[in-house]
């Protein structure tokens, strides 16, 4: 009887503890001001990307030649470009392209990197082959490899995503591999094998969930890297082709008229800085949150 009662007591204490833990976690989450700022920025940009295009009053492709290169005004909040297109709507539509490229690249590299990393960590012979390929890809600077791939594939948005995914997959694969190698040596993996689990189940059912947290952090950084690399590619003319707006090719257009129309370089520049900074702050914060070793120094 006594044990039953004490068990009931124990569970209520445990529930309280769990609640406290949750509160503590939440507190830690918001105590990291930089991470919250980063997260809010990204959230804001996401909202702009998703619903902004429906709110802007001007068609981003509509050229009004008599309005070309107008400074910011009530009619054109951020001014117009050299073809008289409204800069605000071009930037907002451009965010769809830029954020879309960044997000797709983060998603594709996560998936591919996960597959490569997990199998490389489980099978030694695959490890040698896959990691040497990754080393090879990583030894070429991202921009150079991106330009080369774009030259080979031809310029369009889909190819930008493909090229950047190829560029960044090795980074994810490395991170996943190193996390998975640690997991693979744990007793619970051997115990699952002794319970009769198949290799597939061990890899996807037990190793994969243990690599999710480093993956989330890495994916955030890849997102930021992809945005900046896409902008760089577009700036160099090897990215998203005109007339589709992306922050990078708006910058490219603005470069020619930088002394006459500062708004064409400043505003897309600010957007790139904001998104990349936001993602990096978010990624740093997430890393600190997940890795207890870096926590203590912060507070």
């Amino acid at each position: 009887m006594g044990t039953v009662e004490s068990n009931v007591g124990l569970t209520s204490v445990k529930q309280k503890l769990k609640k406290e833990q949750r509160q503590l976690f939440f507190k830690r989450l918001i105590s990291n001001k930089l991470m919250v700022t980063g997260g809010m920025t990204i959230l804001f940009l996401m909202i702009v990307t998703l619903i902004g295009p429906f709110l802007v009053s001007h068609d981003p492709y509509e050229m009004v030649v008599q309005d070309r290169l107008q400074a910011p005004s009530a009619e054109h909040l951020l001014g117009t470009d050299e073809f008289g297109r409204d800069l605000l709507s071009r930037i907002i539509h451009g965010s769809k392209v830029t954020m879309g490229v960044g997000f797709s690249v983060a998603a594709i590299t996560s998936l591919l990197g996960m597959i490569i990393g997990l199998y490389a960590s489980y099978y030694r012979f695959l490890d040698h082959i896959l990691m040497r390929i990754c080393d090879g890809l990583m030894s070429i600077p991202a921009i150079l490899l991106g330009i080369a791939l774009m030259a080979a594939l031809g310029p369009n948005t889909k190819n930008v995503i493909i090229a950047l995914s190829i560029v960044f997959t090795p980074h994810v694969a490395r991170v996943i591999r190193s996390a998975a190698i640690v997991v693979r040596e744990q007793t619970y993996i051997e115990a699952m094998k002794a319970q009769g689990a198949s290799t597939w189940r061990i890899i996807w059912g037990h190793m994969m969930p243990n690599t999710i947290s480093p993956l989330v952090v890495q994916a955030t950084f890849i997102f930021a890297d992809a945005i900046i690399t896409e902008a760089a590619l577009s700036f160099l003319g090897a990215g998203v082709p005109a007339p589709d707006p992306s922050w990078g090719n708006i910058l490219y257009d603005g470069k020619l008229v930088i002394f006459n129309a500062w708004w064409m370089t400043v505003f897309p520049g600010i957007m790139i800085v904001l998104s990349v900074l936001g993602l990096n702050l978010l990624g740093d914060g997430l890393r600190d949150l997940i890795d207890p070793h870096t926590n203590q120094g912060k507070k």
Partner: protein, 338 residues
Amino acid sequence: MPKQPLLEINELKTHFHTERGRVTAVDGVTFHVNEGEILGVVGESGCGKSVTSQSILRLFDEKRLAQYDGEIKLKGTNLLELSDEKMQSIRGNDIAMIFQDPLSSLNPVFTIGHQIAESILLHQNVSKKEAYEKAVEMLRLTGIPAPEKRVKEYPHELSGGMRQRVMIAIALSCEPQLLIADEPTTALDVTIQAQILDLIVEINKKLNMGVIFITHDLGVVAEICTRVVVMYLGQIVEEANVVDVFENPLHPYTRGLMKSVPQIDGDRSEKLHVIEGTVPALDNIPKGCRFATRCPFADELCVEKVPELREFKNGQKARCWHAEKIAEEDQEREDQYV
């Protein structure tokens, strides 16, 4: 009528391919386990106990790392001849295993209910809900209080002893015929150790399941085992009933182990007995008797020629040239005391 052995191991050899060449970690081990029997496997670190147990389940990577020779027969089927798929259906279902470290034997990202249910779903054709109900039932069987609530908890919320109970629940979830317990109590403190041992004995009786209990703790062996196999450097050096092993050990190594156990009522000023030296490395095995380098009885014969495992009275077996002499000496000493 002699019982049919549940598991028969004949001349099992496990070789590993290492950077220093091929190493034989288990070298010609032969023993059997009967139904409903607890067999103790004893020996110091590095003697091949764990390798033997993991070889039974063929847990080593056979493509690159390990190679098995001999026979492992479970009720007549040789496990070493089975395909990988067949072997997978035996693991967990017919033979289950508990590991030494309960703290790392459970996956931290899943609830314990999920993990027990998963093992059930691996081998039995039941719905997820039924598997969960069975998981609760298994936890209750292992004596975990309030199992309905515990199934929803994560491993880090449980103590070491609780986690070992969960491991036992997982191992028993498919009602295996044979349970291999690889030092299941080594990482636990003494009171919890006793509870886990009681649990294993209770389940062994209830389910009439064969148990291979691997340990280096002779006290535990005396407590729960019916028969004992003593291993040294990948070989069996002595095999006997638990009483014979403790009353008249025939192999000098077994005697050394017995003497190394501290006596609670003994003279405390007396130094604890130590078996001199360490286990030789596997790539540097002595030519004759493997224990000769550390044996107080060793002579030229021992250094030159490998002794066979010979049978004595009561089915006691020992791998020693001087077993008779040792037994006689023991007898004389006892006579003196009387």
